[in-house]
Amino acid sequence: MVVQRFIMCAANSVTKARILNQCRKQMTNRLIHTSRWMFAERLYTNKHEWVEVDGETGTIGISQYAQEALGDVVYAQLPDVDTVLKQKDECGALESVKAASEVYSPISGKVIEKNLNIEETPSLINSSCYDKGWLFKVKLSNKEELSGLMTEEQYNDFVKTQEH
């Protein structure tokens, strides 16, 4: 998911340092918390996708911030079942009235289900981006990738750096 690409490019150089700092902070917190993805916590990418892991299965969607930035979604193109994805692969697209945005897979794995409801009713992405508006599910092939993603708290901070 690329939100306002040109703004992001400009912001990237500024935000990187901050994200690193946040990661360091998070590391200290982790000593107190137990493994963070045991509780099916949503993890985020800097391209505004989220993934929620349950056992071997990851459910993928786009964030509230992305949904708002896109505006009314009118068409969702999702990866077909059995597609093998690598992390960061472009695997679909969401079309809003204003523009088309690519969807990138936050993690590697094989697609086991796509949300047929949003192919039918793309506006579910706007009305329920974390629940009914999920995009597709994958069987994870590399769980280690999860540690490179942002927690909700980190992501919320990251989003603040995207707003001008």
Binding site: Y75, V97, A99
Partner: protein, 313 residues
């Protein structure tokens, strides 16, 4: 002005506005713009903001040429900066009702593509032109910049008035089949190819005295090689600028210049340039979007019927 555009300004009534194009020697479009003839010796021009620099240079060059040929000419060009004049568009079926409460001009007598000097919200030195970029009834109000915020605030105090972003305006102008300069019109396209032959005034065709006249008149006579058409697709993702147009045999024959979902039609609409042989309404073509083909039909524009306040005939 006529030396650089295709309109018949000489025979044009005062306080009337016309859409026209600046053309180059190859017949390509350098910009599209609205010219209002305020009086025999006063034209008011609204061109594209994105083309400000090019248009200014183009006008100054035309003036220089004119003065070379007629040294006694006292024609002047004045460019208004945003700090001097503001332009606010009020568009939609209720626009007249809203604006009438705030101006001294009788809007029932101000028809589509006519213009009047006005007082708006108590501010003098405004000019209301009944035109717009939405396909709907509406007005463009030119005003002293210092009054622009006050007038805009006053307009949106009416509950029927909402601010609209560029995205909304783009959907409307596409539904209305209007060109966006830089996408649907460029220096590489002629008015004939762009299905804007009606912009070449009759007198000007006879006089053959506008830049690119030779190319353009030949195309009018013989028909252009390619043409701007409207496309409607019932399903699939909306085509965007750059999407390929494909024929039955899978050959790429053209390219989409604008496209979006039409909120009024609940279908996807687009404009594209295709070879004239494919430009007939009802022709079935395909659009290639992210390597997949989706069928589309060549459709007459405007996609959504226009709603203008035209003078009764």
């Amino acid at each position: 002005m006529e030396s650089i555009c295709t309109a018949d300004l000489q025979n044009f009534p005062n306080n009337s506005s016309v859409l026209t194009v600046f053309t180059n020697d190859q017949g390509g479009v350098l910009d599209d713009l609205i010219i209002t003839k305020i009086s025999q010796d006063h034209l008011y021009v609204v061109s594209n903001a994105a083309m400000k620099k090019q248009d200014q240079a183009h006008l100054l060059k035309a003036l220089e040429n004119h003065k070379k040929n007629s040294p006694s000419s006292n024609i002047k060009v004045k460019f208004f900066e945003p700090q001097e004049r503001g332009l606010v568009a009020l568009q939609g079926p209720k626009a007249a009702e809203v604006l009438q409460k705030l101006t001294d001009v009788d809007l029932t007598k101000l028809y589509f593509m006519t213009s009047a000097e006005a007082t708006v919200c108590g501010a003098g030195a405004c000019r209301i032109t009944r035109c717009g970029y939405t396909g709907e009834d509406g007005f463009e109000i030119s005003m002293p910049a210092i009054k622009a915020v006050d007038i805009s605030r006053e307009l949106i105090r009416n509950g029927d008035v909402k601010l609209a972003g560029l995205g909304a305006r783009d959907s409307l102008r596409l539904e209305a089949g209007m060109c966006l300069y830089g996408s649907d019109l460029t220096a590489e396209t002629t008015p004939v190819e762009a299905a804007l032959t009606w912009l070449i005034a009759k007198r000007r065709r006879e006089a053959r005295d506008f830049p690119g006249a030779e190319v353009i008149l030949k195309q009018i006579k013989e028909g252009p090689q390619k043409k701007r058409v409207g496309l409607v697709a019932d399903s699939g993702p909306p085509a965007r600028h750059g999407s390929a147009v494909v024929d039955d045999n899978g050959n790429v024959i053209g390219s989409v210049t604008s496209g979006c979902p039409s909120p009024s039609l609940n279908k996807n609409i687009a404009m594209a340039y295709v070879p004239s042989a494919y430009s007939k309404n009802g022709s079935k073509l395909s659009l290639k979007i992210r390597e997949k083909l989706y069928s589309a039909v060549v459709t007459k524009m405007p996609f959504v019927p226009s709603n203008y306040y035209t003078k009764p005939k």
